[in-house]
Each structure stands twice: as structure tokens, then as C-alpha cells.
């Protein structure tokens, strides 16, 4: 799912596509229009835009375009408040700098804790080593469990 601005731009492009397609298709499938005073032999009873197959393209495209427009308006409404004044921009800037500072502090604290953990690990390892060495020496001295 792309971010909201990209979605917005996609819907705008979709609206443009609908408009172009609508004009094209309606022009292609339109019935020949009547001349003003000129009498025509074939007097048609219906005057609607219904195609031979019964597809009402004008209604279809009208609904598509209105649906896309309402989608666009809904997306625009869902946008969050956007800072436009200088004060808001300065505030945003200050927030970012503060966050960066705090990030650096937490990083250094994490590094310190990691160092402490590594030191403790070293200590425990040396203790284990000396213990196991002492055990081995004892077992060598008294091989038969005396």
C-alpha cells in the first residue's frame, strides 16, 4: 500500500484517464445526430444514448467519474494537518533536532551497557576457566577418587 500522497496522485491520474476514455468512447459509439431543419428518412423514436448492445456508456462513465471524484475528495479530507507557517516549520525542525539528540544519548547508554555486559562475560569466563582447571588438577592428583 503506497503512501497517501502517491495514492492521491494515482487517483488524480485515474480521473484524467476516465475523462479521456469517456470522451473517446462516447464519440465512437454516439449515434448520428439530427440536423436542424433537414428532414431525415429514418425517423428514430428513441433519442437516448443506448448502444446497440444496450450499454449505456454515458451513464457508466458518469458514475465512474463521480465515484473517482468522491474518492479524491475523501482522500483529500483524510490528509493530516500540514504546517504552512514559518512557526510550524521551526517547531518541526526543533523537534527533529531534539529527537536526534535523544537518539545519540540512548545510543551511548546502550553502548555503555553492552561494554558492561562484555566485561561481566569476560569475568565469568575466566572464573569458569580457573574452576575447571582446578578441578582437573585435583582429579589428576587423586586419580582414584580418594
Amino acid at each position: 500500500m503506497s503512501d497517501r500522497l502517491t495514492q492521491l496522485q494515482d487517483v488524480v491520474n485515474l480521473l484524467a484517464d476516465h475523462l479521456c476514455n469517456a470522451t473517446g468512447v462516447l464519440q465512437e459509439t454516439a449515434r448520428p445526430s439530427r440536423f436542424g431543419d433537414f428532414e431525415q428518412n429514418s425517423t428514430t423514436t428513441t433519442n437516448s444514448n443506448v448502444d446497440n448492445n444496450g450499454d449505456d456508456y454515458s451513464r457508466l462513465f458518469a458514475s465512474l467519474i463521480t465515484r473517482t471524484t468522491s474518492e479524491l475528495v475523501a482522500l483529500i479530507d483524510s490528509l493530516p494537518a500540514i504546517p504552512s507557517t514559518e512557526d510550524d516549520l521551526l517547531e518541526q525542525h526543533a523537534q527533529l533536532e531534539l529527537l536526534e539528540q535523544e537518539n545519540i544519548e540512548t545510543t551511548s547508554r546502550l553502548e555503555q551497557t553492552t561494554e558492561l555486559a562484555e566485561y561481566l562475560l569476560e569475568q565469568v569466563q575466566t572464573c569458569l576457566q580457573s574452576l575447571s582447571q582446578a578441578l582437573l588438577d585435583e582429579r589428576k592428583k587423586f586419580p582414584q577418587g580418594q
Binding site: V12, L19, Q92, A117
Partner: protein, 193 residues
Amino acid sequence: MEPPPVLSSAFPLPPMSYIELFSNDNISQNNKILQPPPPIDGPYDLFGLFVNGIDHSEPIIRPLAAQQIQRVYTRPDDYKGELKKLCFAILTNYLDLLQIVSRSTLTPSTDSGNITLREQKLNEIELLFINIHHLINELRPHQARETLRVILEEQKQQREKTSEKLYSFLNRIVDVLNSAVYSLNDLVPKTSN
């Protein structure tokens, strides 16, 4: 007897000449570790096209629409209102276009006799679309800053949590060790002298 299984992987090997520079010994000696190259300043080659470097003096992120194209929206403060106005302007202009095209295509326009009404209307619709896209693009820097803010927050939270958990583990370890030492002291008989 089966031959020992050959270690193979689906992926090709990494570039060995590059990896050998980062061996453990090299890092511990801090011996000329390859730094990533700094970002390029000035013009560079982008997909075969020469691109000018980023000019930090101008707000290049949001190039002004007034350079080449007329700006239609009036107040850049109220983003939502202007976007909606542009959207409905597009629809009304489209209806006008339909009316023009259905009545007469070749009428020259009243403003400038060179182009037809239809072309003038098409140009207006094109202008509106360009404006609406430009307005949306002007919101991008703000989006980038907000994303950066969220990422920094998340990083900070994660680092704080990790260091706290690690600290509590260390405390527990120290407690366990102390209790082990005390119980050991109880077991060992006191040597006189």
C-alpha cells in the same frame, strides 16, 4: 560409503577481494577500513542523462510552478481547500469541454483567434491537472520530515528498551553469581591458619 556432502548454496559467493579487507584482524587493528564514498557534489550522470548537482541555496525540492507554468491556486496555506477547488474546477471545465465538442469543434476562441475554443479548453484542463499535481508535490517535503521524525522515535524507543532489558539481565546475573559465591563459602570448610 557416501562422499561427504559438498557445501553449496543457491547464491553466488560474495566478492572475496572486498570481504578480505574487513577481516576481524583488520577491524581490531583499525587498519585502513574502507569508508563508503561521500555523496557526490556537483553534476553527475543519471541513467545516461547529465543531471546538475543539488543546489542548496534554492529550495530545489519544491521548484516554483511560476517558472514555466501559471499558478492557479491562490492560497498555498489551505492545502485541502485548494485541492478540492481544483478538483471541482477540473470537473466543470470538463463539462464545458463536452459542451464545446458536442456543439462545434472549430470555433476560434474569443481570447486569441489562433487556437480553437476546444484547444483553449484543453489547455485549461491541462493547466489544472498540472497545478493539482504540483500542489500535492509541495506536500512531499513535509511528509519526508514526518517520516524522519517517526523513524527517529522508533529507533530511540528500541534502543531504550534494549538497554533496559540488558541492564536487568546483568543485574540478575550478578545476583546469581553472588548467591553462588555465598553458598560456596558455606560449603568450604574454614581452614585454620
